[in-house]
């Protein structure tokens, strides 16, 4: 598909486009369901059983069960949808975002107070493929 997609080479970044959206449809719709208090209760009571109600892949379910945000994003999740899981867990947006960086919560908070991550950042060599 020769579309204008110049955004695939940015390190540590996944752009949520129609392709990701198609891949992550049920994962994201599951997240939306957590906007209702009764669904949050049911999810908390038995996460696996609740996830099994959705047409998600096993990979997506495992990513949710282990709260691995990078894995959820790779599987088509979008951060604004995934944030509903964080809200259910009582996590802040800063905790969620930080959890994807490999940094501790404190280290991430300190980095932000010191002015954030530079846009010239590249991933450490060991993370490269």
């Amino acid at each position: 598909m020769p579309l204008d997609k110049p955004y695939t080479d940015i390190p540590g970044t996944t752009i949520f486009d129609a392709e990701q959206s198609r891949k992550g449809y049920w994962l994201n719709q599951f997240c939306m369901s957590l906007m209702k208090a009764e669904n949050r209760e049911r999810f908390k009571k038995d996460e696996r059983a609740y996830l099994d109600e959705w047409a998600m892949t096993e990979e997506q379910k495992q990513a949710v069960l282990t709260r691995d945000m990078n894995r959820m994003i790779a599987a088509g999740g979008n951060i604004y949808f995934l944030a509903k899981i964080g809200a259910t867990d009582g996590k802040s947006f800063q905790q969620m975002a930080g959890s994807m960086t490999g940094m501790s919560e404190d280290a991430y908070r300190e980095m932000m107070i010191a002015g954030g991550r530079p846009s010239t950042w590249t991933p450490p060599a060991k993370d490269k493929p």
């Binding site: 970044t13 906007m35 208090a37 990078n70 994003i73 975002a97 994807m100 960086t101 954030g116």
Partner: protein, 284 residues
């Protein structure tokens, strides 16, 4: 005749709303953010609009993947405050301006913008945090609001130039409404931030300040900035800044009128994961 008297630009970070709702505004961390809005709260008391045309984006709240409008205008009489997963924010419901909103929709669609008209939409922090920043914690919001939601969640999002031209169409629409209404247009979201992946936490003060400079001085050139520059330099969520171009496009100078007056400018890092930018421009 209705007229646009001013435009306001501000980030809409959810943690800012939480800080207000939980009474943390006096903590040093948050004091640095809120101090930048003290002049704005004075300004808006002295320059109270009848209606705010509020450009924001929904964050997977009112719109799921079942329904993704590029541009959606709220024409309802009121809009409830959304439960984003931790209960609705304790702020007043939002009162709409159905007649003016419908008039704008009518006019802007006839100018070849393919709006979606929405009569039921719970509004999330993207809309309520700017109201809280500008108005504090009143019993009810001091003006009516026309919510205008832009898709910046799923790519492709509208280009900066499309947004800038839409602003011009909105100005024409408002000026053709024959009641005497004082309208402000607000652009929200941004500034630089990235909420996902190993690159989360990105901030670019240099980019942000150049954006603020150019937004004032040469918005037409700024509107030509391609999406990829936002993503690369301002982070994946920095793309929200295209919404500021809608508000800027609606100012008089873009249509050949006088340059606006810069009433206030503020910039601070961080609020949670985000750089906070803020500007107020008055039409002359």
């Amino acid at each position: 005749m209705a007229r646009i008297t001013a435009s306001v630009y501000t980030s809409h970070v959810p943690a800012i709303g939480a800080a207000m709702d939980l009474g943390k505004t006096q903590e040093p961390y948050w004091q640095k953010v809120f101090s930048g809005y003290e002049p704005s709260r004075e300004w808006i008391k002295a320059n109270k609009p009848d209606v705010v045309f509020l450009v924001f984006n929904d964050h997977a709240t009112a719109f799921s993947l079942d329904f993704i409008p590029t541009f959606a205008i709220g024409t309802a009489a009121e809009f409830a405050v959304a439960d984003e997963g931790w209960g609705p924010r304790p702020v007043p419901k939002v009162i709409g301006a159905p007649e003016l909103a419908s008039h704008i929709a009518h006019s802007v669609i006839q100018q070849d913008f393919d709006l979606t008209i929405v009569n039921k939409m719970d509004v999330d922090h993207g809309l309520t945090v700017p109201l809280s920043l500008m108005c504090g914690q009143p019993q009810e919001w001091p003006f009516k609001v026309i919510p205008f939601a832009v898709n910046v969640v799923q790519y492709p999002v509208p280009s900066g130039m499309r947004c800038f031209k839409l602003g011009q169409a909105i100005r024409k629409a408002i000026e053709s409404f024959d009641e005497d209404v004082n309208v402000q247009i607000w652009g929200t979201g941004g500034m630089s931030h990235q909420l996902q992946g190993p690159r989360a936490g990105l901030i670019n003060k240099d980019f942000d300040n150049r954006f603020l400079d150019q937004l004032l001085a040469d918005p037409e050139a700024l509107a030509q900035k391609p999406h990829i520059d936002y993503v690369r330099e301002a982070g994946s969520e920095g793309i929200e800044l295209v919404m500021w171009l809608i508000a800027r496009g609606a100012m008089a100078d873009v249509a050949g009128g006088a340059k606006p007056t810069l009433k206030h400018r503020f910039y601070h890092v961080p609020a949670s994961n985000t750089a906070v930018g803020h500007m107020i421009l008055e039409n002359n």
